[in-house]
């Protein structure tokens, strides 16, 4: 498809076309879920964390599981846009805008979770190292503190990365627009971009640097999330393999959620010629690869306690395999390990409904994995007298559903106001492709 037509098609979605009905339905649904989130948080702030099912020893419940889940899905977007930018993989240009937009709102949802979990959330600013009247400093040797730093950096960096990659497209929208208000809106966002060679020079210096910073940042953020757990002495958490384990899981859920977004978006916006079956195939293969990696980690997770033979760790593993939370445990194995094996078959990778269902299964499975890690490990600690079964309350579920509302509302807004395909990157690709047949 010629580059100019592509630009027209993608920018017309934002500028010209009437907002489609499915957008209003989806946005209405998302906004209602967002209201649920506001309600759940309001009740939480009013009554305290007791509205959730958490108590001692299961003091980390849904909020922490949700946090790991959201930040994990965010990482998939960054991997696609940063890592595959650095490896010069052309295919990323078709999906990186969707992936990055997804990342921005996943990180937003993730960032909220630990704060509301604090209990006295209005003291959250104590996390910053500033000279204070108490004469104290944060505990710099705690993984939980590293986590705060990592998330803060990740939020700032992923928003910057997303926005820097958006500037040339904002200028395209500004120039193509006929409506005064939109011209001003996109004009401000374009930051005076003119597409001069000077501007491109700066862009081409900045974007790769950001990408080069983002790619290792994903791994460090998720390693630190793993260390949050590995740093605790709880049986089932105190594992040296947790940092890579968490990175694998994060990337798996990230690819899955990108697939879940890309499949409907390309259909709804008629982008089949931009996001081709080949892109879906690559994403499916990546999902299969990460599923195999996480399977290896699941194997080690069971093998190591038996290898060490430590009684409490064995009790924790056995409780996973056959205890109260065994259905959850086996659900995670089925959803993250068994079902993704279907992706070995070509016809599955090329069947969009199946791909969507498998991805949805992985996204759910990854939430379950974090639920099992957080809750099932805590409910069997070293003192059998304090063993406890965690039951989520209505407000736990409302917070989870509500955070999805925050994500979906944000994403629907971007879907309406931001071009979902990087237009200038596609133009560059088209220009580079053109000389080939002539030669």
């Amino acid at each position: 498809m010629p580059a100019a037509t592509l630009t027209e098609h993608v920018s017309d979605i934002v500028l010209e076309r009437k907002t489609p009905l499915w957008w209003w339905v989806g946005f209405g649904f998302s906004a209602s879920l967002l209201l649920v989130f506001v309600g759940a948080l309001g009740w939480l702030f009013f009554r305290g964390v007791g509205v959730w099912g958490i108590t001692w020893p299961v003091a980390w419940g849904f909020a922490i599981g949700n946090y790991v889940w959201w930040v994990g899905m965010a990482s998939g977007g960054t991997i696609i846009s940063a890592l595959f930018f650095l490896t010069r993989s052309d295919w990323r240009s078709a999906t990186n805008r969707i992936a990055e937009s997804m990342t921005v709102f996943c990180v937003a949802c993730a960032g909220i979770m630990p704060i509301i979990h604090l209990g006295r959330w209005w003291y959250a600013y104590w996390l910053f190292p500033y000279p204070n009247t108490m004469g104290t400093w944060p505990q710099f040797r705690s993984p939980l503190y590293w986590d705060f730093a990592a998330i803060l950096v990740y939020v700032v960096a992923s928003v910057l990365f997303w926005y820097v990659g958006l500037i040339p497209d904002m200028a395209t929208l500004r120039d193509r627009d006929t409506n005064r208000w939109q011209q001003i809106f996109y004009g401000i966002l374009a930051l005076g971009w003119q597409g001069s060679s000077r501007h491109w020079r700066e862009y081409r210096a900045t974007y790769p640097i950001l990408a080069a910073l983002m790619a290792p940042l994903v791994c460090s953020v998720h390693s630190i999330v793993g260390l949050d757990f590995a740093g605790g002495l709880t049986p089932g958490w105190h594992e040296t393999q947790f940092p890579p384990y968490f990175v694998f899981g994060a990337v798996l859920s990230g690819f899955a959620v990108v697939l879940m977004l890309v499949i409907p978006i390309r259909r709804a916006y008629g982008l089949q010629h931009v996001i081709t079956e080949r892109h879906l195939d690559i994403l499916a293969r990546l999902m299969l690869t990460t599923s195999l990696l996480i399977t290896y980690a699941y194997g080690l997770e069971v093998f190591m306690p038996f290898y060490r033979g430590e009684a409490h760790e064995l009790a924790s593993v056995m409780s996973n395999l056959s205890g109260t939370y065994a259905p959850w445990y086996w659900a995670k194995i089925v959803l993250n390990t068994v079902i993704p094996q279907l992706l070995w078959f070509r016809w599955v990778r090329f069947s969009r409904p199946l791909l969507f269902i498998i991805s949805a299964g992985v996204v759910i499975g990854m939430w379950i994995e974090r639920y099992v890690i957080v809750v099932s490990s805590l409910h069997r600690n070293y003192a059998p007298s304090s063993w406890f079964v965690f039951t989520p309350t209505f407000w736990d579920w409302a917070t989870l559903a509500g955070s999805m509302g925050l994500f979906l509302t944000g994403f629907f807004l971007l879907l309406r106001f931001i071009p979902m395909v990087s237009m200038f990157e596609m133009r560059e690709l088209a220009a580079r492709r053109k000389p080939e047949p002539a030669e």
Partner: protein
């Protein structure tokens, strides 16, 4: 452009980047200094032809990174070794 010309500048439009780069190269050889290219995407080779300075962005990023790393380490060191020493298990 020199002052004895009646025009102050000239704009040319190109369909593809190769002829544009050729024209740019020839203009450059003819001694023109104030040249600028506007393109819908980044075109390889313009900066070389126009003999522009190397990017300063990497240097700025690197400096900021070093300042951040040293500053971050200093805050940690000052907080937990000088201002409020934490002695955990006899380890400094």
């Amino acid at each position: 452009m020199s002052g004895n010309h009646s025009s102050h500048g000239l704009v040319a439009e190109f369909e593809h980047s190769e002829p544009m780069l050729d024209a740019l190269r020839r203009l450059r050889e003819a001694g023109f200094e104030r040249l600028e290219v506007y393109s819908p995407f980044a075109v390889e080779g313009i900066d070389e032809i126009l003999a522009r300075r190397r990017f300063r962005t990497p240097l700025v990023v690197f400096t900021a990174g070093v300042v951040g790393a040293v500053g971050g380490f200093f805050v940690q060191y000052y907080g937990s070794a000088i201002d409020y020493p934490l002695n955990i298990g006899g380890r400094p």
